[in-house]
Amino acid sequence: MTDMTIDRDKLRDIYTRTMRVARADEKFRSLLMTGKLAVIYYTVRGQELVSAAAMAALEQDDYLVTTYRGQHDQIAKGVPLNPLFAEIAGKVGGTCRGKGGSMHITHPETGVMVTTGVVGSGLPIANGLALASQNRGDGKVTMVCFGDGATNIGAFHEAMNMAQLWKLPVIFLCQNNRYGEHTAFADHTKVDSIVTRAKAYGMTGVHVDGNDAIAMYNTTKAAVDRARAGEGPTLIEAMCYRMMGHFFGSDFSYMPKEHLAEMAAEDPLPRLRQLMLDHQFTEAELDAIVADLDAQMDAAADFAANSPLPGPEEIRKDVFEEEIAA
């Protein structure tokens, strides 16, 4: 049974992380809508809480590997907003000097080691980070996030098998948002849930409502504790919804009306707000958290807008350790 109790400070932490993700996502969309940003952006609307609750169970120096739809994971893990916004805008003040963009955010200080634009490729890499921790005995845990769409690529299966074989301290967090690009879950996978696949590798698998803050946090925490104790990996299937199209601005008329209605009813943001009120947080307290975050978003957007564009010399840097000749 999942523990359904939670510490109030942890709940506040989860709320703050969730709203930091949500307000950043809304800011990105508003910058795109008003033409202040013109980049590809994979909105994380609907997946804010699943990340926030998961990352709240990790330490800052634990490793994270995520995917192109990963801004929620990065922000919830703690990547500072100014360089994150600048990176998405392709500016030199970005985490990666504008050379990575939203699909390739890297920020080792907060443990964000890889964001990959290739579906499923993060899982084998996460194993390697976890292997390094296992050999060093440094107690770190690696989490790798991916969607349901990633579970039908070979890398998923190779990585799951290897992780269990070597009892690596890694957590496979499948954020099942019900769609792989434009294809609904039932049209790409015959089994009812991803978690059934854990059994095929002898791995512990847990199915959880990703929009239930307490269940999501406690499930992740249990997996983190197991991994730190040397008991091996866990596959977590966290159910959630991708509440917009594949990328921002893309058509999602392929989603049936019933799905859209179900999705709206399960929106994690009002649900979390209610949970907070149920735990005696006041409206004023919660509004103050959001107001503070909004000020941070405005500052980050300004920072990104004012950060210079990278110069052409950047093309010759970081190809190898030594700069290549002009």
């Binding site: 985490t95 390697g128 292997l131 990585a159 290897m162 190898f320």
Partner: protein, 330 residues
């Protein structure tokens, strides 16, 4: 006569030395641990006994997972070595190599890097057929962020392996099955051959043969024969294919005025095209003959020995290419 060492012993020694110096050097690959015999070609023989199964990890047959795990460990500060049993199997791991190992330094703006060596072997002439014999070096040389190395002799194999493990960027290290038993004078412990430096293996004045890997042996044999005809051949062993040692190659061809580029990989779109093109750009007007290329036939590598021998760059053809260059009348 000084002590001799085989290429197998040389590569084993280089890995052994690196593992003794740095706990972060680990080896992952199919069958590589003692329990499985130390690898199909015995390169890791004796290493499990010294360094344990946490550092010498025999893996499932999962090339993506092997290379991916090495990429991840490298990001965490290790210096992993991935053994991919045969070069054709590297194709299974191309996403990890091309999209990740090669690009993470750049895409992260230099925040992370991938000090990874992918060791693999291949070679035409042992009857393994189309899926166990290819030289695919040009594929990797085409990708920004990868270094590509192939030794032609045991001493270089030892020294290049040490340099590859010490390199802070990913290195594709190509061994040739037919070269494992070749002996060199023992270079002794601690031998390092820097990456990116070609060797002038034989000096000459009439024509340069630019090559690497096993075909260096063919080039040296032909150079000896042509000397009897009064043709002086210079043999350049690139050792590192990428980055390309333009200074050494250009200087050689500037001196001889003629060049034949020789490799075992198929000629079409091969490294020979790149080298010939660069020579043309640098030395147009100074060349006494067109730069020519010799490579494998444009087919899958055949199994039957008769076909395999017809496929592989032929020593007579190499000699004829040099003679044609020397006798070129325009």
């Amino acid at each position: 006569m000084s002590a001799q060492i085989t290429m197998t012993q040389a590569i084993n020694r280089a890995i052994d030395e690196a593992m003794a110096e740095d706990e972060g050097v680990i080896l992952l690959g199919e069958d590589v641990a003692a329990k499985q015999g130390g690898g199909v070609f015995k390169i890791s023989s004796g290493l499990t006994e010294k360094y344990g199964e946490k550092r010498i990890r025999a893996t499932p047959i999962s090339e993506q997972a092997i290379v991916g795990a090495c990429v991840g460990a490298a990001l965490a500060g290790f210096r992993p070595i991935a053994e991919i049993m045969l070069m054709n199997f590297v194709t299974v791991a191309m996403d990890q190599i091309v999209n990740h190992a090669a690009k993470l330094r750049f895409m992260s703006g230099g925040q992370t890097h991938v000090p990874l060596v992918i060791r693999t072997t291949t070679g035409v002439g042992v009857g393994f057929g189309g899926q166990h014999s290819d030289m695919l070096e040009a594929w990797f040389a085409h990708v920004a962020g990868l270094k590509v190395v192939t030794p032609s002799n045991a001493a270089d194999a030892q020294g290049l392996m040490r340099a590859a493990i010490a390199c802070n960027d990913p290195v594709i290290f190509i061994e040739n099955i037919l070269c494992y038993g070749l002996k060199s004078d023992d270079p002794g412990p601690g031998h390092v051959v820097p990456l990116g430096k070609a060797a002038v293996t034989r000096e000459g004045s009439d024509c340069s043969i630019i090559t690497y890997g096993r075909t260096v042996l063919d080039a040296l044999e032909i150079a000896g024969k042509l000397a009897e005809e009064g043709i002086s051949v210079e043999v350049i062993d690139l050792r590192t294919i990428a980055p390309y040692d333009e200074a050494t190659v250009t200087a050689s061809v500037q001196k001889t005025g003629r060049a034949v580029v020789l490799h075992e990989a198929v000629k079409q779109y091969g490294t020979g095209a790149e080298i010939a093109s660069r020579l043309n750009e640098k030395l147009f007007g100074k060349l006494k003959a067109p730069v020519t290329r010799i490579g494998g036939a444009f087919s899958a590598v055949p199994m039957a020995n008769a076909l395999e021998q017809a496929w592989i760059p032929n020593k007579d053809a190499i000699a004829d290419a040099v003679r044609s260059a020397v006798n070129w009348k325009g």
